[in-house]
């Protein structure tokens, strides 16, 4: 038995090996196994260059759909499944950090991605395939577009602080294929075995070079986010703000007076023995991110905080001279 297991594991090893050279026939299989898990998402937009479509995928057999949180979901949203069925959706919740939104349709048996279908260890140089309804090319039961490329880098988006206008600043998988086109957000990146590598994010353009980033958010983070939304832990429907929002003075931070339209959020004072001072936040630190959301002014800091309950722990990213620091703050640390 043990020997068998041993041989088996070696056979599997060889199978993985040969899988790295992907033949046309295999790509066809990847396409066929992935298409039924995808949906085309339609909603708001369609004016002044805003597309009214994006992509999504099933994450449970009973019709839970993950997609990107964007303007498309602002109003009534409908989805069309791979076989052409059309549904109105119910908004379940969203995670402002990852900009993942969950939608639900009334269905019983859908092919879906699950935690089991995650590729645990994507690596740089790996062949990958994106499937999305970029440019809204496919309609009805037409297949979404398949593209091939390679994982170019696995890195953190906030490595280039402030260069991208994105709420997300965690790990990203950068690819060499031009995956992130209009409408591609919410599409999937899979490997040669059809394993789920990540969800294609929104279009991001580097502010200095004007180049577009092609990336996806790792599958692990997506599923963490999905679980959090489902359990109600991170159900932050942006339309409802907490009754008792977070305030910086609760953790002992005083910002400079807000005198301009875009006053930069510099720390003006830190109260002794406060959670902020315990975290070594100092005078003249500049706040860059609040809970992974970039903030350029005091107004934006306040707006970001108004969505967070006072009892939660927040993370802020600071700049001190040339240094960039991440701090976690909670008013409850006081006690």
């Amino acid at each position: 038995m043990i020997r068998f297991r041993c041989y088996f594991s070696m056979v599997v090893g060889f199978a993985i090996m040969s899988g790295s050279l992907v033949a046309d026939a295999q790509i066809k299989v990847i396409n066929q196994m992935t298409q039924p898990k995808l949906v085309k998402v339609y909603g708001s937009g369609g004016i002044s260059g805003l597309h009214a479509y994006q992509s999504g995928f099933f994450v449970s057999p009973d019709g839970l759909i993950a997609t990107t949180w964007s303007h498309v979901l602002d109003g009534e949203t409908s989805v069309v499944t791979a076989d052409g069925r059309k549904f109105k959706t119910e908004f379940v919740g969203m995670d402002p950090g990852l900009e993942v939104a969950l939608l639900k349709i009334k269905s019983a048996k859908e092919a879906c991605f699950s935690r089991k279908s995650i590729l645990k260890t994507p690596f740089t140089g790996q062949q990958c395939f994106s499937l999305s309804n970029l440019f809204g090319i496919a309609v009805g039961d037409e297949q979404q577009s398949l593209m091939r490329g390679t994982v170019s880098a696995i890195t953190k988006l906030d490595a280039q602080l402030g260069k991208y206008d994105s709420a997300y600043s965690g790990k990203v998988i950068v690819v060499d294929l031009i995956a992130n086109n209009p409408g591609a957000a919410g599409g999937v990146l899979v490997d040669a075995g059809g394993k789920f590598i990540g969800m294609l994010g929104k279009e991001l353009r580097e502010k200095n070079t004007q180049t577009w980033l092609n990336y996806c958010i790792p599958a692990e983070s997506i599923f963490e986010s999905i679980d959090a939304i489902r359990s109600g832990e991170r159900v932050e429907n942006p339309k409802t703000k907490p009754a008792t929002p977070f305030q910086l003075k609760l953790v002992g931070i005083e910002l400079v007076p807000d005198v301009l339209q875009n006053t930069r959020p510099f720390v003006d004072d830190v109260i002794d023995e406060s959670p902020a001072s315990k975290q070594d936040i100092r005078l003249d630190d500049l706040i860059l991110f609040v809970d992974r959301k970039p903030v350029r002014s005091i107004r934006e800091v306040n707006a970001a905080l108004s969505n967070i309950d006072r009892d939660r722990t927040i993370s802020i990213v600071l700049r001190r001279g040339e240094q960039v620091l991440t701090k976690r703050l909670s008013r409850l640390d006081d006690k």
């Binding site: 043990i2 020997r3 297991r5 041993c6 594991s9 070696m10 599997v12 090893g13 060889f14 993985i16 090996m17 790295s20 050279l21 046309d24 295999q26 790509i27 066809k28 990847i30 396409n31 260059g49 052409g84 970029l134 440019f135 090319i137 496919a138 309609v139 009805g140 039961d141 037409e142 297949q143 979404q144 577009s145 398949l146 593209m147 091939r148 294929l177 031009i178 995956a179 086109n181 209009p182 577009w212």
Partner: protein, 626 residues
């Protein structure tokens, strides 16, 4: 080195396993621990090592496979490059790509590439030579154009693939002249996969519609337009022509579209007619209903579809052998055929399911089409640019309204006319032809001569005199106009293009292009459609009548279709069993006459007799028979 060590450890792990089987250990605490180790740790170790060693093994194995696949790729591409054309406009301002599909130099490109170049183009090939080329025909709606490279007769033509057989995920190569880089005429090769098939792309701006096209992530940039898309074995599967760009500027964003080669080949024969082609319409508008069925929501009562029974609210099931499940499906199919084609169509109404063969119509009127073309193909102005266009091009260019290049129309028409006439040995207008045979039930006699056409089936006799107009004549009854069809047929074969016996009226013949010959009277229309063959179509107009002749590669007329007026139900005659008749030529032994999908008569010819009318003997002889 690490590699070796790994293998040694694996081998040790394995030897422990074998060892363990032989000596069953007692259950002491030490052996128990050892057992645990063997049970769980050793396989775990093996797995870990196997995984660790994968990259090393890969290095040992990949190069061979890679080398093989790379070698085959290099070979395929170096062959495919030879048929790729790098097009430059003569003023050097623009250009694009093309692909040679015929060794005599006919090449396909995009309309939007050829049009700004005018009638004369410069074409660079992989061999480093620059050739002059002339415009042949254009299809502004389908964004196709045919050009002909001059100064050679053994060009390397691409081998044509079947774009219906490609799958999403297939490897493909785009070869061409992106950003007009190929100033040394060496085309650029990009590789990708098929991202989508049967895509429908709306007309962008004016006319250009991309139905049933291929989507690829192979880089397609400006200048790739008109160039070939090849499959992994180097067969031509598409003509690259368009991309989705939007806000990212006119550079590749991973979404390029190619016109399917099957569509291009449906039009290729017709493009050689030198014409400005239109696309087809069914004469009906469909929409996807709430029950996801495709239904007719509007129908033109003058359309052939209506005549054949298609009505409002009928459900379209299939067209041209393909299932229709959405409006796009039908658009995809209609967009790939020239308007003079007929396609099988299956529809369902409350009563039954019916299969018809429907004659498509033009999507635009001729005027509308010409108006939308802008800029119009430049006319050759000899006075202004005496030296700019070389003689070889001028020799092959003839301007005429409604045509891209009338020279090629004449070339094709004369080729077919001469081919047909070669089959008869006495091409003289004063010859009189007597045909004797029988139908299934009756005797059959036809006398075709300059003064009149006579026809006798059983006891019914019909004559058409030279003076009477052909229009609206459909005798014998229920044949749709067999008498007139035979008159035109005789004239085409023997009269050198003139119906002299019919009051000196000119018989106007026009080369329409190529098309299949299918009609609903046949059994297994579907199979016949699949195995369809394209014939040269020669259209002969006399008075208000139109007769289309379908001519095969041996210049035998396989069928003729006569319309007593343009919207009339036609008389179809299928000619078959060609044989050589002494003193007259190769002529058909069987005539199958069909009207409204029903066989009117199947004529078995026993003999052809040719006599010169002025000796009078033949006429008297015939009269004596009566």
């Amino acid at each position: 080195m690490t590699n070796q060590r790994q293998w040694i450890v694996i081998a040790r792990g394995l030897s422990i396993l074998f060892e363990k089987k032989r000596n069953k250990p007692e259950r002491t605490s030490v052996t128990y621990r050892l057992r645990l180790e063997q049970k769980y740790l050793t396989p775990a170790l093996a797995v870990v090592l196997a995984v660790i060693s994968i990259p090393d093994l890969l290095l040992a194995q990949v190069p061979r496979q890679l080398a093989e696949s790379e070698e085959s790729r290099v070979n395929v591409i170096s062959d495919a490059r030879k048929s790729t054309v790098c097009i430059f406009s003569t003023d050097g301002a623009g250009g694009g790509s093309g692909v040679i599909i015929d060794s005599s130099g006919y090449a396909l490109t995009n309309y939007h590439v050829a049009d700004p170049c005018g009638e004369h183009l410069h074409c660079g090939l992989d061999d480093g030579q620059l050739y002059d080329a002339v415009i042949v025909g254009i299809d502004p709606v389908g964004d196709l154009a045919m050009i002909k490279l001059l100064g050679g007769n053994d060009f390397h033509a691409a081998s044509i693939g079947d774009s219906d057989l490609i799958n999403v995920g297939d490897t493909c190569y785009a070869i061409g002249n992106p950003f007009l880089l190929a100033t040394d005429f060496q085309p650029t090769v990009t590789m990708g996969i098929i991202s989508g098939v049967n895509r429908y792309q709306f007309p962008s701006g004016t006319l250009l519609e991309y139905p049933d096209c291929i989507q690829t992530d192979a880089a397609i940039n400006p200048g790739n337009s008109g160039g070939p898309l090849f499959n992994a074995s180097g067969e031509l599967i598409g003509i690259n022509g368009r991309g989705s760009f939007e806000k990212r500027g006119r550079v590749n964003v991973g979404v390029g579209y190619a016109i399917s080669i099957n569509q291009a080949m449906n039009f290729a024969g017709t493009l050689r007619s030198g014409g400005i082609l239109d696309h087809a319409s069914l004469g009906a508008v469909v929409a996807t209903a709430s029950d996801r069925k495709v239904r007719v929501i509007e129908i033109d009562s003058a359309s052939d579809a209506y005549r054949k029974g298609l009505r409002y609210d009928d459900e379209i099931i299939s067209a041209a052998g393909r299932k229709i499940e959405s409006t796009n499906d039908l658009k995809n199919i209609l967009g790939t055929f020239p308007p003079h084609w007929k396609i099988p169509l299956t529809f369902r109404n409350e009563k039954s399911e019916q299969e018809i063969v429907v004659q498509l119509t033009s999507a635009h009127s001729k005027q509308e089409l010409l108006k939308k073309l802008s800029p119009k193909p430049k006319a050759v102005d000899l006075a202004l640019e005496p030296r700019s266009i070389p003689k070889v091009v001028l020799e092959k260019y003839l301007s005429r309204r409604g045509f891209a290049n009338f020279f090629f129309h004449n070339l094709e028409r004369d080729r077919v006319l001469q081919g047909i006439r070669k089959s008869v040995t006495i091409a003289r207008s004063d010859v009189s032809i007597a045909i004797q045979g029988k139908t299934q039930l009756d005797s059959f006699v036809a006398v075709l001569q300059r003064e009149k056409t006579g026809l006798k089936i059983g006891d019914d006799a019909f004559t058409l005199s030279a003076e009477s107009a052909l229009e609206y004549q459909t005798r014998p009854k229920k044949s749709g106009g067999l008498l007139n069809l035979l008159t035109v047929w005789r004239s085409l074969l023997f009269d050198n293009g003139k119906i002299e016996n019919l009051s000196q009226r000119n018989l106007v013949s026009r080369y329409v292009g190529t098309g299949p010959f299918v009609f609903a009277g046949e059994t297994n229309v579907g199979t016949k459609w699949k195995e369809r063959k394209q014939y040269d179509v020669l259209r002969v107009a006399v008075d208000g009548t139109v007769t289309d002749f379908f001519v095969d590669e041996n210049y035998e007329i396989v069928a003729a279709e006569y319309f007593s007026f343009p919207e009339a139900d036609s008389c179809v005659v299928q000619f078959s069993n060609y044989e050589f008749f002494d003193g007259i030529g190769r002529l058909p032994k069987t005539f199958k006459v069909i009207f409204r999908e029903k066989t009117f008569a199947e004529i078995d010819v026993k003999s052809y007799l040719a006599k010169q009318v002025n000796d009078g003997a033949f006429s008297r002889e015939k009269e004596g028979d009566k």
